[in-house]
Amino acid sequence: MKLIFERGNEGQALCLMPACDVPEVTLEGFEREGKLYLPHVSENELSRHYTEIAKRVHGVNDGFYPLGSCTMKYNPKVNEEAAALPGFVGVHPLQGDKNSQGCLEVLYKIEESLAEISGMDNVTLQPAAGAHGEFTGLLLIKSYLESIGATNRKKIIVPDSAHGTNPASAVMCGFEIVNIPSGADGCVDLEALSGAVGEDTAGLMLTNPNTVGVFDKNILEITKIVHDAGGLCYYDGANLNAVMGVVRPGDMGFDCIHFNLHKTFSTPHGGGGPGSGPVGCKAFLAPFLPGIRVNKKPCGCYTSGKAEKSFGEVKAFGGNFLVVVKALTYILTLGKEGIPEAAKNAVLNANYMQACLKDDFDLAYDVICMHEFVLTLDKFHKETGISALDLAKGLLDHGIHPPTMYFPLIVHEALMIEPTETEPKEMLDEAVAVFKELKKLAYENPQALHDAPVKTPVRRLDDVRAARTPVLRYNFE
């Protein structure tokens, strides 16, 4: 396909700029030295450009997208409608509380809702993504530990099944990582945890349900072990979709949590707009929160301010505000009954697919799962030569986005499947039939799977070349 710079020609343009109504000035010493490369295309050509790109990608609007750990649920159109309201789109962050009452109400209401869903006391909407939320949450923990003089507490405990962002965020905050092995059931090994905590423990980062889709039944004991040692407990909200409205991280003993609005609360994933990773915390951490704190006065109006010992800002103003509007729309649409129902259906869908596939593929953990489950294709790979990657490529030819591959790292030839609650049974049945068909193909004609995909715009990619010599920008010369 043509890139945007290969379309159009000099002089073609989208629109006429209004006449300049202020005097033109030249900023001496700041003149551009080289040519400014901008696309020159008409609106028609630009529209074709985006349509062509859209045809080459697979989104949840194109078909099944069971990408484990990512929760690729459908993004309701009503969210977009709310976020497009002129009062939200046209607001300026410096126009003052008096003229921003509606926006402050949004921030106040979603803080209230997220706090209730998570069992926390306060929430900041400022972080712009999940990992950014981790970083923010850990800064809260660090600020608190410094405030009580516990600067010797420098170690963050992370299980080996954790998302890679957990240790990365902790290191970015200046903590040291202590990795602990998971038990045979994929859950936290209590002995390993007890052995790892001590006077230097700052805290534990945990995802529950964990990355293999299992709810850790020892969760209360886990958070107690960490608290007894003087550490804090951080809840990675990556898998909150499985339990929202059913159990609360705050009640499990966690002190701090991030939410992935794009996973749990149906805002678009990367590429569909900016992200948002709000952070909730218990009251003792709230004085350190970053960003705007919104209060409601007895008269019903809202004021904004800062937390008393705020550690600063992690993003400008109220964060990615329009994403927050979409999430609030979702929460209000589903309400107190709909939120837990969505979680339960996510769990039901995952268990249905797991039950349909378990006779044909090995489960990494043969238990009732939560919102996702993990297949291990280790034996299958040895028998057929077909790896998890080959099977994933085969799915592409059937219009299905592959599940997450080779994660969690503790499972060999892993395929992590998360159907989400927004798929009907018919879709799950279709997908199960495709998995079974591909299994048959692996034994009968493995070469066909080594060659897959053959129906996609781009065939099998050279992963090594893509990683070693990526072409990241257009060369104008």
Binding site: L389, M405, Y406, F407, L409, H412, D463, V464, A467, R468
Partner: protein, 125 residues
């Protein structure tokens, strides 16, 4: 699996080749490279760096994941294999020739297995 008899192996899938001059080469086993898949990057220490038995001294990135490489010995790095750093695929192609580092002044060793013991260990994985 063809693991050379003259090498020693760790449970974290590195090999150690002792040379007559007291130095040794360290690399990744055939099993490790096949589990990792196609390697795209290798981060090696610098000459003169100390390495510690059972602790990471390098990391390798495959199309699947980034993994630590542990040292079989406590020693000092005397040479790093730049060729492997430029062409990580050499580890996939010839794992027992593609050494990562050469070490000297070996003070301590991790638990090391013979080729047979290592094969038995891998079988049970």
């Amino acid at each position: 699996m063809n693991n050379p008899k003259e090498l020693l192996y760790t449970k974290s899938h590195e090999w150690l080749k002792k040379n007559e001059d007291g130095t040794a080469y360290v690399g990744l086993t055939d099993f490790a490279q096949s589990e990792l898949g196609d390697l795209v990057f290798v981060n090696l220490p610098a000459e003169g760096d100390p390495v510690t038995a059972d602790e990471a001294f390098a990391d390798v990135e495959s199309v699947k994941a980034v993994s630590d490489v542990n040292s079989p010995v406590t020693a000092t790095v005397v040479a790093v294999n730049d060729e492997v750093a430029d062409q990580p695929a050499l580890i996939n192609e010839t794992p027992y020739d593609a050494w990562l580092i050469q070490v000297t002044d070996i003070e301590d060793t991790a638990e090391l297995l013979s080729a047979e013991e290592y094969e038995a260990f891998v079988e049970n994985q």
